[in-house]
Amino acid sequence: MTNLLLVLSKDPYTTETPDLVLDIGMNAKEKGNDVSLYLIEDGITAARKSEFGNKLAAAEKKGIRIFADDKAVLSRSLTDKLIGGVEIKEIGTLLDYIMEYDRVVWF
């Protein structure tokens, strides 16, 4: 089993990248890997209460951990507008994860 960290920096309404990331994460999870999704920059908008947010919430229920960069959340005033299950973290935690996870992919 591999620990996989997917870092998403793109919003879900400009490109299909967030859908791709979610597909990769779900597939990896189904294959028994430990998967985390870290939302940063515009990627945080994927966790808004919305159609895409619902997809993330379903992924979280299947065991994918979802983290959000604190500055990305605050700068967009999204603190109370995110789906449940999102853990807000600071940049040092992202750095720890980058160093600790087996595989890190930045989108």
């Binding site: 920059e41 992202l94 980058i98 160093m99 930045w106």
Partner: protein, 122 residues
Amino acid sequence: MTGKQLTIVSINGPYRDEGVFTMIRLAHAAKEKGINVNFFNYLDATLIAHKEQAPKEFPPIETIFGTIVKKGIKKPKADAIACIKCTDARGVTKQQTEGVIIGGLYDLGEWTGESDKTILIG
């Protein structure tokens, strides 16, 4: 985590998104944690360290990045390398800020081999 080494490869230029700021935030966090950081500026990211940027509405990226490189996240010979083919193509080889060395993909290969982790921000 002291003594670990992280290589950050950037491919995007400044002022189009927050990528450069994220890279700088990671660098500061790395310094606090004692992690050595290598910056490999590739493709449009070779514009990050281009001297004499004068944006009207944004902080000048070269100054911020240059401060990190000059202070030295890592004490060895090079903290930051800009890809020579990329700088030549953009006409910025001789205008890189102090502390940025002109190099190439072989250098990235060496850094990747030496580092505990290499990430690409793009």
